[in-house]
Amino acid sequence: MWETVASWLGPDEWQAVRLSIQVSLWATLTSLPLGIFIAYALARWEFPGKQVLNGIVHLPLILPPVVTGYLLLLTFGRRGTVGQFLDQWFGIVLSFRWTGAALAAAIMAFPLMVRAIRLAIEAVDPKLEAAASTLGASKPWVFVTVTLPLILPGVIAGAILAFAKAIGEFGATITFVSNIPGQTQTIPSAIYAFLQVPGGEEAASRLVIVAVVIAMAALLLSEFVARRVANVVAGS
């Protein structure tokens, strides 16, 4: 059965699927801690520039993806300020690499992730956290033992939403890291590339099916896990 599925996709197509999953996993997992932190800050803290931060986080949601991609190229490209710094000091090059695709996907998915987690944090009763502090838990411990377990369904939902968004990211990715097979050619870029050449429709439609399957699987998984966690958290 596996053999038939494996041979059903051509090597180029497989490469695109593998790369898409790799890029999206990295994008999701590495941005998750920052996502939780930003969501917590937006939900719980009052600080100057809070609305500005909120705006910046949401910017990729409303800007045309091409604009986001171009801005990434300007800052993280080889000649960009941050890109130059990363290249010289750490030898990290993002532009036209899969790591750059992961960065683009992470930034595009970030608003969705932060929104889901922020809603979960706002639903946690601060009185429970106060109770934990009177029982001797310092602020980091309150977060780890009370807040984090209670927001876990929201964190999982946010992460899976971000993963699904990352899988489908196209505009910013192609602008920032182009469409290099094996390097930066994810499923959407591959579909685009196949549609540019005569006779590519068949390969493109196979990838479309894969994209639908991955999206559905992610959605079902998130529902299932979030429900399980919610039951544990709600205490029944």
């Binding site: 009185k127 429970l128 106060a130 109770a131 934990a132 502090s133 009177t134 029982l135 001797g136 838990a137 310092s138 602020k139 411990w141 309150v142 033992t145 009370v146 377990p149 209670l150 544990v232 958290v233 709600a234 205490g235 029944s236």
Partner: protein, 366 residues
């Protein structure tokens, strides 16, 4: 250990300006809602930073705004029992109970889980989650959780207010055990005078952010300025003598026998009984042929005339004080005056179960 609290805090609407002492035992902060009780207790817990003040006990300084010292809540070692329980929904009862203990310093872990579980009767609940507990069970677990955190001081913010009468009757005895068996001072917020009568060692009455009266419960509950003429009550100390077959319990007071509907205490135990002043009838001569079973003899020490038609007559009954609320007209017709001997008539059924509590009324230092 005596806790000294001096706190000033400005709100929109009223200012809190309070200086009180909480000696060992249960100090009840008593007053109507909006009088600043919860604010005060939150300041002690460190959940609210008052504008200025000092909270300290025997060199253990929790807050001193002059010295810029404000201990974080988690360093205060205070067991806080909240009105709504505030159990952690994602943890089992056992995990909830042990939560504070985990953070407590090693030398403060003297309370053992089995003893607390036994004392609160929550052995069957340990593996359940708070979602599956009744209100009364939740509150017992909350008491145990606070106790096991090894606190130097226990705070309770109207812990019975969210419960119905039956659940209140279920939980109150646990607070009495807490007072009698645990050596930690307790600061207890309440607006119920029967809770005060049963639990308090000392009562601090608050009104609109100020202390209006302070002292042992018998004194404060008889104070019209605190409870109003309608709420005036006395607290008598009595010893259980026997339980009789007709459902009555016989108690001995300094002024004679007292018959009450059966009380849940073994003979020989000393209990406290709250008697509402308006349930007491006075008679100069010892009455005969009455349905009321209780006739206590005392000496009039004070007659307070109110603005209305009522008068409060305070009798010395042994070491206790018994207050009767009668009309001014009766007081004048009977020619009552301080120093006279008088008989107080109390119907047995006028004393409800929630008015009967355990423990001697200690005379608190004033």
């Amino acid at each position: 250990m005596t806790l000294q609290i001096a706190v000033k805090h400005a709100f929109t609407g009223f200012d809190l300006d309070v200086g009180i002492q909480a000696p060992p035992g249960v100090t009840v902060l008593f007053g109507p809602s909006g009088s600043g009780k919860t604010t005060l207790i939150n300041a002690v817990a460190g959940l609210l930073r008052p504008d200025s003040g000092r909270i300290a006990a025997d060199g253990w300084v929790l807050l001193d705004t002059n010295a810029r010292r404000n201990l974080a809540p988690h360093r205060r070692r205070i067991g806080y029992i909240f009105q709504e329980g505030r159990l952690f929904p994602h943890l089992t009862v056992r995990q909830n109970l042990l939560y504070g203990r985990w953070f407590a310093p090693r030398d403060a872990r003297s309370e053992r889980l089995p003893r607390v579980v036994e004392m609160l009767g929550i052995g069957q609940l340990l593996e359940r989650r708070p979602g599956a507990l009744s209100g009364g069970e939740k509150q017992r677990v909350a008491i145990g959780r606070a106790l096991l955190s090894g606190p130097k001081l226990i705070l309770a913010d109207e812990p019975l207010a969210a419960l119905d009468e039956a659940r209140k009757a279920e939980i109150l005895p646990y607070f009495e055990r807490l007072r009698d068996e645990v050596s930690v001072p307790i600061l207890y917020v309440s607006h119920s005078s029967s809770e005060v009568a049963r639990l308090a060692t000392t009562v601090v009455a608050l009104k609109a952010g100020r202390v209006v009266a302070c002292g042992p419960p018998a004194k404060v509950l008889g104070d019209v300025a605190v409870v109003g003429a309608r709420g005036a009550a006395s607290v008598l100390t009595a010893r259980v003598v026997a339980h009789h077959a007709d459902g009555l319990s016989e108690l001995a007071t300094a002024a004679g026998p007292l018959w009450l509907p059966r009380v849940d205490e073994a003979p020989g135990k000393t209990i406290r009984v709250r008697i509402a002043a308006q349930e007491v009838i006075l008679s100069r001569a010892r009455p005969e042929g009455l349905s009321a079973l209780n006739i206590l003899c005392g000496r009039i020490i004070d007659i307070r005339l109110g603005d209305g038609p009522g008068a409060l007559v305070v009798l010395a009954v042994g070491e206790d004080r018994l207050t009767a609320r009668i009309t001014r007209r009766s007081a004048e017709a009977m020619g009552l005056a301080a120093g006279q001997t008088c008989h107080a008539i109390i119907k047995s059924v006028a004393v409800a179960p929630e008015d009967v509590g355990t423990g001697r009324i200690q005379e608190a230092a004033e």
